[in-house]
């Protein structure tokens, strides 16, 4: 009892005013900093999670992945057709690549005569045909065990804009010999 009284006596006269001030100050600070002194990162987390989901979604939907370089400048087109997951033949200024496997090196945008059946005037590019036959075989084997995959003889050609028509016909002829009859030319879409 005596202690209580003592405490009571210690309370200053402007106790109520003091408490009101403290309350106001604590209300102001509540929104900014929590008790432990950590920054509230919930809203930042929300933004980052949305961004992460968006990026993962756009990453997963592209069946072909193209990195434009100085040797591979894609052509712009007004086409709106979406690319599909097919065998991809990439033709840059320097080389021909099938599904990320280098096949042969180009010299001035031409295939060396020794790599073609029939020499300089030939259309049949021997190493490219070998690789495409393998790719078709792989796809067919996959189709035999997985009914959702079918081999439809479609091949995506990712080609540099300066490639001469002659090389294009050679590639299409060679692919035709490996049972690829339909082609998709990859372009940069002008439509947003």
């Amino acid at each position: 009892m005596t202690e209580e009284r003592k405490n009571y006596e210690l309370i200053p006269e402007n106790y109520e005013e003091e408490m009101l001030k403290r309350k106001k100050a604590s209300k102001k600070s509540k929104g900014k900093i929590s008790d432990s002194g950590d920054v509230n990162i919930n809203s930042l987390m929300d933004i980052l999670t949305i961004l992460l989901v968006f990026l993962l979604k756009s990453y997963a939907t592209d069946p072909i992945n193209i990195t434009p370089t100085a040797d591979l400048e894609l052509v712009r087109s007004t086409s709106l057709l979406q690319p599909e997951a097919t065998v991809a033949v990439t033709v840059s200024k320097a080389a021909i690549v099938v599904d990320n496997r280098p096949v042969l090196v180009l010299k001035d945008g031409r295939v060396e005569a020794s790599q073609k059946r029939g020499g300089e005037d030939g259309f049949f590019i021997i190493p490219l045909n070998r690789e495409l036959v393998d790719a078709a075989e792989r796809k067919r084997r996959l189709a035999s065990v997985n009914p959702s995959v079918t081999f439809d003889g479609v091949c995506t050609i990712i080609m540099d804009g300066d490639t001469p028509y002659r090389l294009l016909t050679e590639i299409m002829y060679t692919a035709g010999q490996a049972e690829f009859q339909n082609f998709k030319f990859a372009t940069i879409s002008l439509e947003s």
Binding site: L52, L81, L168, E191
Partner: protein, 184 residues
């Protein structure tokens, strides 16, 4: 007492987000660098099919009854258009291409616009629209070119022959493209 209890609950609700934040902050730059800045579209093209001999047109058929077989041949001098196995003649120059190259601008290797002779795309578009109006059911077009014609010129011709903008909507012209072997 009641105050103490409330504090305990709020401490329980605050999960330590730091590891998750670290993970997300690493994943975002990784995905951003691997993401494509451009949207890829494709153009469907097929090679000529070898048909049975009975499909060949008898020589005595009237020219207007023959299949259209619209063909565009790109050469260094310009565009030559064939329809029903006949060259669409240029009245100014009967021996030259149907649409000779005109003066215009094109991108050079460094991406700068330079004066050069370019294909007469607008005239070709007009011509193809006329063909489409005369043969609304026809969808095929054969494109061929000289060996040294660049791939980007062929894609430009494909774009023109596929569709045209008619006001706000697009009109399909000849969407089925067949690439044929080069012009001899």
């Amino acid at each position: 007492m009641a105050k103490k209890k409330r504090r305990g609950v709020s401490a329980m609700q605050e999960i330590n987000m730091k590891p998750a934040m670290n993970l997300i902050l690493i994943l975002i730059p990784l995905l951003l660098t691997s993401m494509e800045a451009v949207r890829i579209a494709v153009i469907n093209v097929s090679t000529p099919q070898i048909g049975p001999a009975s499909e060949a047109t008898p020589p005595d058929t009237r020219p207007e009854d023959r299949p259209l077989k619209l063909t565009i041949a790109l050469t260094n001098r310009g565009i030559t258009v064939f329809a029903r196995d006949q060259v669409v003649e240029n009245s100014d120059d009967p021996l030259g291409p149907t649409l000779p190259k005109i003066e215009g601008q094109e991108e050079d290797a460094d991406g700068n616009m330079v004066n050069a002779m370019v294909y007469d795309i607008d005239k070709l578009r007009e011509m193809l629209v006329d063909f489409k109006e005369a043969n609304p059911a026809e969808e095929n077009i054969i494109i061929t070119a000289e060996p040294n014609i660049k791939f980007k010129d062929i894609v430009t011709i494909m774009d023109v022959s596929r569709e045209m903008e008619d006001g706000e909507r697009r009109r399909s012209l000849f969407p089925q493209v067949v690439l044929s072997a080069g012009v001899a």
